[in-house]
Symmetry: none
Subunit: 123 residues, 4 copies
Amino acid sequence: MIIIDYNDKRPIYEQIIDRFQTLILNGALEPDTQLPSVRSLAIELSINANTIQRAYSELERSGFIYSVKGRGNFVRADESLVEKQKAKTLNELQEHLQHCKEIGITQKEITEYVSKIFMEVDK
Amino acid sequence: MIIIDYNDKRPIYEQIIDRFQTLILNGALEPDTQLPSVRSLAIELSINANTIQRAYSELERSGFIYSVKGRGNFVRADESLVEKQKAKTLNELQEHLQHCKEIGITQKEITEYVSKIFMEVDK
Amino acid sequence: MIIIDYNDKRPIYEQIIDRFQTLILNGALEPDTQLPSVRSLAIELSINANTIQRAYSELERSGFIYSVKGRGNFVRADESLVEKQKAKTLNELQEHLQHCKEIGITQKEITEYVSKIFMEVDK
Amino acid sequence: MIIIDYNDKRPIYEQIIDRFQTLILNGALEPDTQLPSVRSLAIELSINANTIQRAYSELERSGFIYSVKGRGNFVRADESLVEKQKAKTLNELQEHLQHCKEIGITQKEITEYVSKIFMEVDK
DNA sequence: GTGGTCTAGACCACG
DNA sequence: GTGGTCTAGACCACC
């Protein structure tokens, strides 16, 4: 479910956060589903438990999951998050597109890319 | 010409690199133009000369500028870099779009954004 | 493992890069082997940690190693690099041989040298 | 006769020295030929006269030319230099070949290169 | 004046 | 503990 890429320059805890976020946002993890325990996931990925703990804490802080003492961590049901996340992603996209424009990439080239992405079937 | 944003999470030297790259790629800095000297730019931006030095070194390594001891740093004339850089940027865009798709952003929303960006007049 | 020659005109960081490159290219350092930490190597060689850091950064940039924050630097497994490096070295050799020819060194003299080098047993 | 390559990382004075050395060693400049004057060459190459002066001084020091006050600089006739220079170049070649061997280049590959170089007709 | 290397020491983020 | 960035200041080579 979670894969760590050590060649990825982002810190491990961030990779884990991102992975759970997309799993939750696209519905693969339904509300109230229990996440793997901190310790079991740490062993499975052979990384430090503190790293998992940090990822879960931040996921809780940003509202993606809730934690119950002695029981575990669970996916939160909060529709507003979906919108908030979409807004954030679109904002990043805007900056990226601005940059594309600055270095001389044409609108045509970009729309072609967009079409290409959305024509692929989901894996 | 160069602005440092201390709120930006990226390191200073990287901000400088990116700024010069776009200035070179969009033609604002023509081939063989001399860049500000390491020390003068350091003073102008009130940062350490080593930080500028590092930015210039990496710009030279990646082929955007060439440096001559005792004379200064100059914009390199290398057309192939433009294409290489465009390809790289489009590749990043592709990953970004893939992510947008994963969290449920529609193609329509994106094309609207693209149009919006390209309708603005250049400043 | 690493020796610094202060009589060598090349900068220290470059000597370190070259040394690790050959160690990786000839297989003495296998993929995913951990390199000495920045600080420990600095102490061992009695040089500044920044100098090691620079060497490691450039080794990472050129694909010989990968670095993970909080964990260390490791040898990357990338076969294509071996070929790329061989091509680069042979290219330099070609220029060198061209120069030999220009100043009147004969083919016979060179082939004798080549044989001499390759007859020695590996140490 | 002399071309300066600003993309070459070597200092300008060294490029000039090397160029005159090969011209002298391969006989293009015969003994007692007068070299261009410091000032005229400086203007021709649009570089600082001090740089030319330095090149000529070093050429004189190493015995390739001699200078006559008020008259100019002339090619020296000294056969022993040829041998000395050949020895030096062959020594550099030996180190280079050693390096080739270390990174796994075979003797066969090298002899092919050598043949290739010497088969070309002089330009 | 220019670029380039190195040192010493600080601070931050990550695990 | 690990890597990464930045500063301040020194010294060298080149033009």
